[in-house]
């Protein structure tokens, strides 16, 4: 029996999947710990692996600042939908697999100390599909942003509307857009980040409607499924069809941003796009106009008036309280 020399050609078993992940783009075997360290971006080819909602929040927000809201929202079965499996069973299975209640997580957090209302989707939960719960969370995230006058960030990762909720899911396009229209009128900024994939009704509602639309590189973004496009139309699809760069080339995405630069870019944008406070924008640098300032114009008035006249002697002065409020807010910003 000849001695078998150790082979340097890797066999399947040499890469147990709990330690190694094969990059679907370049085929490289990646050590999981290393992949986690690089925010799940392939160090060889920059393939962006999908992120769970928790990992996405960890990536974008200041540590420990996320405060979840509406964690108890849960899907119901409005149609009594059964295909091969009843819809409630599918929801229950997805809950066990992901530890999430539905395909979106929302709350308040901070980026570089600045409060934001954020909603992130998780593709792992039934393909990130949008039913009434996802629609409601996006709507409430926008409402919180309007009420607190803080920016709204939505991170999309979804195959589209959830078929099992039928037209109730379709109507979530109208629900989310309705609130986003109010948000626009309230002049509260909204940054939309599209990740792999952002398709169907999610793309055709809140994802496409950002004041600024960002996307991770090579994310699948489109309205109709490419299979459907090709099948229905019997036409060859252009190269890179429905990828971030394709959408960028056609003018629907402002910036394609590598994951490692996302936070920096969000901060940069948020420095320019601040909730309008009703006073005329003077574009002055500095953070004093940041944050929750329902009476912002009073504070600004106080900033200009108080140092000159000073508080009248013996007065408890409303100017003083304005001034205190102004300085307090500056600190928070």
């Amino acid at each position: 029996m000849p001695i078998k020399l150790p082979s340097f050609r890797p066999r399947r078993d040499d890469y147990p999947p709990d330690l190694w992940t094969k990059c679907p783009s370049c085929g490289e075997m990646l050590f999981n710990k290393q992949l986690d360290k690089s925010d799940r971006v392939c160090p060889t080819c920059d393939h962006h692996f999908r992120l769970s909602a928790a990992a996405r929040l960890e990536l974008l927000l200041d540590p420990g600042t996320f405060e979840e809201r509406d964690a108890g929202l849960q899907s119901v079965d409005p149609l009594g939908f059964v295909d091969q499996k009843p819809y409630p069973d599918r929801v229950a299975a997805a809950q066990v697999a992901t530890g999430l209640r539905d395909a979106a997580v929302r709350g308040i957090g901070a980026i570089e100390g600045r409060p934001v209302s954020i909603c992130v989707m998780d593709f792992g939960f039934m393909g990130g599909s949008m039913g009434a719960v996802v629609g409601e969370k996006v709507a409430r995230a926008a409402e919180d942003a309007i009420a607190a006058r803080i920016p709204l960030i939505v991170v999309s990762a979804s195959g589209g509307a959830r078929m099992q909720e039928g037209t109730m899911a379709l109507m979530q396009l109208a629900k989310t857009i309705a609130v986003l229209e109010r948000r626009r009128a309230a002049r509260v900024p909204y940054l939309s980040l599209m990740t792999d994939p952002t398709t169907g009704g999610v793309f055709a509602s809140y994802a496409v409607l950002g004041d600024v639309n960002l996307a991770e590189p090579r994310a699948l973004i489109g309205f109709a499924g490419a299979r459907v496009s090709a099948g229905t139309i019997a036409q060859e699809l252009p190269p890179g069809f429905q990828r971030s760069e394709f959408l960028f080339d056609h003018g629907f995405i402002d910036r394609v941003v590598h994951r490692r630069d996302l936070r920096t870019e969000l901060v940069q944008l948020l420095r320019y796009l601040r909730p309008a406070d009703g006073s005329s924008g003077d574009g002055v640098e500095g953070d004093t106009r940041w944050g929750f300032r329902p009476m912002g114009f009073l504070s600004q008035l106080a900033d200009r008036v108080v140092p000159e006249i000073g508080p009248p002697p013996g007065s408890s002065g409303s100017e003083r309280s304005s001034e205190e409020r102004a300085s307090g807010e500056a600190k928070r910003g």
Binding site: F49, E58, L73, Q84, Q95, V96, R101, A132, A204
Partner: protein, 331 residues
């Protein structure tokens, strides 16, 4: 293509099978002889002035829009327009609008708002056009903007689902103060064939999908997505276009008169509340479902389950795509 849609997906079912009933309506909604926007308006309006073009790219023949007089009332109209035969269907892209169609619709709705005309829309669409040009010119953006415009449009809006209410391509012109449907119209988040091929893994189960999605007009009324159903004469709208138009006209005029009496601010607030409230969910007090293991492990498990992962290395020609689009057709 229409023939393919009409004839596929039919399997023999037991007599009295509820799938037969809904599938009969799907076929009626798609009937080649079903009256389209211009035919209905031709019957119900004293005058129709069609307006053309989106002012940016072109004039989409799959959407018609313009001004009309119905019973002495001036209105603006928008509707999808399928063809009455193969030749016209080819010219009108089978009633599947491109972005410029929705942009034309928006332009005319804004015109209506500016001059105080109520808007009536006629919805009959398999879905927005799914081709590459449609994506290149921003079909998703056009649909989203049109929905947003209709939610804030400061004039009464009556939408009528007259045939196929196919997904986002339908909703883009179906937001309104009142949404009506013809008796054999259908409304769904995805075509029954698309739904069946994803969830049943075969388009042949389309009747089962149609039933599961409760896409008939009466089901949509029960769900609160629409506000009224207009009965069709005899065998269906195609059998008596004039009578169908007469009934529809009466329903539309009644609703327009009701809406005209409501102050605009109230109308807009009610419209907002209607869409803000739609879609049931529940709220449970219990803490989150059991927390998953550490981030890394969960993600690795997901990667294992990710169908794209094992399809690696087989990119589609020309696109270097490695994973199929996830579960959706359009929306």
């Amino acid at each position: 293509m229409v023939d393919r849609l009409l004839h596929r997906g039919r399997e023999a079912a037991a007599p009295g099978d509820p799938r037969d009933e809904v599938w009969r309506r799907v076929k009626l909604a798609r009937h080649l002889g079903r009256p389209r926007t211009l035919e209905l308006l031709g019957e119900m309006a004293d005058e129709v002035v069609e307006l053309h073009g989106d002012r940016g790219f072109g004039d989409d023949p799959a959407i018609v829009a313009g001004l009309a007089r119905i019973d002495g009332r001036r209105i603006a109209f928008v509707g999808q327009q399928k063809g009455a035969d193969t030749e016209e269907n080819v010219r009108r892209n089978f009633g599947m609008p491109h972005p410029e169609g929705y942009r034309k619709a928006m332009r005319v709705m804004e015109l209506a708002e500016r001059f105080g005309l109520p808007v009536v829309t006629f919805v009959d669409v398999p879905g927005a056009h799914p081709g590459p040009e449609s994506e290149e010119r921003g079909i998703a953006e056009a649909i989203a903007r049109s929905i947003g415009l209709m939610i804030r449009l400061r004039t009464p809006v009556v939408a009528v689902i007259t045939g196929e209410g196919g997904s986002g391509g339908a909703l883009a012109i179906a937001v309104g103060d009142v949404v009506l449907a013809l008796e054999n119209a259908v409304y769904s988040v995805i075509s029954p064939e698309g739904c069946a091929s994803i969830l049943w893994r075969t388009a042949d189960e389309a009747p089962a999908a149609a039933l599961a999605m409760r896409m008939s007009a009466s089901d949509q009324l029960a769900l609160g997505v629409i506000d009224g159903v207009v009965a069709e004469p005899g065998e269906g709208a195609h059998a008596d276009v004039r009578e169908t138009a007469r009934r529809l006209k009466s329903a539309i005029v009644t609703r327009l008169d009701q809406l005209a009496a409501v102050p605009l601010d109230e109308l807009l607030e009610a419209r907002y509340r209607r869409y803000r409230a739609i879609g049931p969910y529940t709220e449970v007090a219990a803490p989150a479902v059991a927390q998953p293991p550490s981030r890394g492990l969960t993600d690795r498990l997901r990667d294992l389950l990710d169908p794209g992962r094992w399809a690696a290395g087989v990119p589609l020609p020309g696109s270097s795509r490695r994973d199929e689009p996830p579960a959706h057709e359009d929306v």
